[in-house]
């Protein structure tokens, strides 16, 4: 039972990251590798703030803001300097490695014993006795669901429509007298904000910032998005964002299962195979409008 709770916890944390990846990969059609840097960015900011006694709930907002900045930088590199999408992400990811180290001070910042969004008088008051083991899970669930609902609502606003349009058909956005570059930057900002938010929660759940925590974050995000959207493609009543969150939980369950049955060093290969299977099974390549007028 405990293991399932842990899996859901981890799944939901990475689910928030996957919501960000969903924006870039599915909506914007932009393979954004910034994620490997913005996830630990959220964690670094959080660790640095919590060690200095900042309210842990405030770190959620500040981390989101830090992620937004990172996304804007990637966007500016891509749009204004005309660097290819993949490379812009790689440049920013590389830069963030140093920035994260500077923000956190060292490569490993433990925050045991400090107040966190999970560990404070209020939360410990609400969750005690048998409920205590579900504390983290419930808090993460609440944050993930809020993030999902806000994102859903946003995608239904005028600005959200434009965001969806830019990944679908850049020409249309230009026809609507809007600069598609700015819209892309906006999308990258929101996406990396979510990713950093996930990093913030991850750091507080792990009670430690570790510079290497971002390695492979993009793979987890992509896998979650692809698993979620492929598996639940037929279910029209289910929103893509919900599917993505569930996808992340399924991915983490697979990792847990792999940990049980296989040697840990085989994990990456298993991940890769799983990834490939889902991709082939799902085989839904984005039909993007291309071509010149």
């Amino acid at each position: 039972m405990n293991l399932i709770v842990t899996t859901v916890e981890q799944g939901l944390i990475y689910g928030i990251l996957a919501l960000g990846v969903y924006i870039t990969y599915k909506i914007l059609d932009f393979p954004d590798l910034t994620v490997d840097g913005s996830f630990p960015l959220g964690a670094a900011v959080t660790a640095a703030l919590i060690v200095r006694g900042v309210n842990p709930y405030l770190t959620l907002l500040i981390s989101f803001g830090a992620g937004v900045l990172a996304g804007v930088c990637t966007g500016l590199i891509h749009v204004k300097c005309k660097v290819r999408d993949l490379l812009s992400g790689i440049i920013m990811m590389t830069a963030l490695w140093t920035i994260n180290l500077r923000i956190a001070g060292t490569a490993n910042v433990p925050i045991f014993g400090e107040e966190s969004i999970f560990d404070n008088d209020n939360m410990n008051g609400i969750f005690h006795g048998t409920l205590a083991s579900y504390k983290v899970c419930v808090i993460v669930l609440v944050i993930a669901v809020i993030a999902k609902i806000v994102l859903d609502l946003y995608l239904k606003t005028k600005s959200g429509f434009l965001l969806r349009a830019v990944g679908d058909n850049e020409h249309l956005v230009t026809s609507l007298a809007k600069d598609q570059g700015n819209i892309k930057i906006l999308g990258l900002a929101i996406a990396n904000g979510l990713v950093a938010l996930a990093g913030c929660i991850f750091c507080q759940e792990q009670r430690v910032f570790e510079i290497s925590s971002g390695t492979g974050a993009i793979v987890i995000g992509l896998a979650s998005v692809i698993i979620g959207t492929s598996l639940f493609k037929g279910l029209t009543f289910m929103k893509a964002t919900t599917a993505v969150l569930i996808g992340a939980i399924i991915y983490k369950a697979c990792v847990a299962a792999a940990l049980k049955f296989f040697e840990p060093q085989d994990m990456k290969l298993i991940t890769a195979v799983l990834f490939l299977v889902i991709l082939i099974v799902g085989m839904e390549r984005k039909k993007k409008v291309k071509g010149n007028a």
């Binding site: 946003y154 239904k156 606003t157 005028k158 600005s159 959200g160 429509f161 434009l162 969806r164 349009a165 679908d168 058909n169 020409h171 249309l172 956005v173 230009t174 026809s175 609507l176 007298a177 809007k178 600069d179 598609q180 039909k287 409008v289 071509g291 010149n292 007028a293």
Partner: protein
């Protein structure tokens, strides 16, 4: 009024593939004109539209919109007053969004895209009415994703979308070329109606000589980056498909085809 003054454009300058497209090209389209443009492939018709709209830069020359120099203006800025429909039926709509969402998106052109609701409920009946006029049965499919519609249906919606908001210029780039004859006919009639209703200054590039002759009040024929025929008003009305066809043949012989 749209003006192209002394436009020069080379493709691949400085390479062995250098190709001169326009050399001191001039064109003035007056307010309220509906210009149909014909010409063989590679004659520069679509490039001319791209230059007007800002999709491609010019090497020298000026582009004026109602007297204002827009040569350096970004494409998206020019589009505030320009509506454009492409040959590729996919370019005018968003496939993953519904008809209603697409129309709402287009309806907001020129206004701020903020955090207000994307779909204006009060406008829904208006959209339905616009769709009903198409006679394609789309008014009952407003929640269907545009990507699942046929090319003709998409093009009709694209045409509606590009002319929904107050614009002054309409650029049509072979917008019936990818459609079957019957749908092309419907779209062409719709185009004519909208242009007349909204009094749009229009430039239409087409390969269909009959459309070029039947519609519009001015006609251009382009060849190797030059206008070799320019007829307006009465002169245009007297032009027949055969005359144009003959002219085409002459050019082809000249070129050695």
């Amino acid at each position: 009024m749209l003006e192209l003054r002394g436009i020069t454009k080379y493709y691949n300058p400085g390479t062995v593939n250098e190709m001169c497209l326009f050399q001191d090209f001039n064109l003035t389209v007056r307010k309220g004109e509906f210009v149909s443009v014909v010409g063989s492939n590679g004659s520069g018709k679509t490039s001319m539209l791209n230059i007007l709209c800002g999709s491609i830069p010019v090497d020298s020359g000026r582009i004026l919109m109602d007297g204002e120099d827009i040569t350096r203006m970004k494409e998206y800025m020019r589009n505030r007053r320009i509506g454009r429909v492409y040959q590729n039926t996919a370019l005018g709509t968003c496939p993953s969004m519904t008809i209603l969402e697409n129309m709402s998106l287009a309806d907001n052109k020129g206004k701020f895209y903020g955090l207000g609701r994307g779909i204006h409920k009060g406008r829904k009946e208006h959209y339905r009415e616009l769709l009903r006029q198409l006679n394609l049965g789309l008014e009952d499919k407003m929640d269907v994703k545009v990507g699942t519609l046929s090319g003709g249906q998409r093009q009709a919606i694209a045409l509606l979308m590009s002319t929904m908001t107050p614009i002054d210029f309409l650029i049509l780039d072979e917008h019936t070329a990818a459609l079957d004859p019957k749908t092309a006919e419907i779209i062409m009639e719709l185009t004519d109606r909208i242009v007349k209703e909204k009094r749009l200054t229009t430039i239409m590039v087409t390969h269909n000589l009959r459309y070029a002759v039947e519609y519009g009040n001015r006609m251009l024929m382009m060849h190797q980056g030059k206008c070799i025929l320019d007829r307006a008003g009465k002169e245009k009305e007297e032009t027949t498909v055969d005359m144009i066809l003959n002219l085409f043949n002459e050019i082809s012989i000249e070129c050695g085809n």
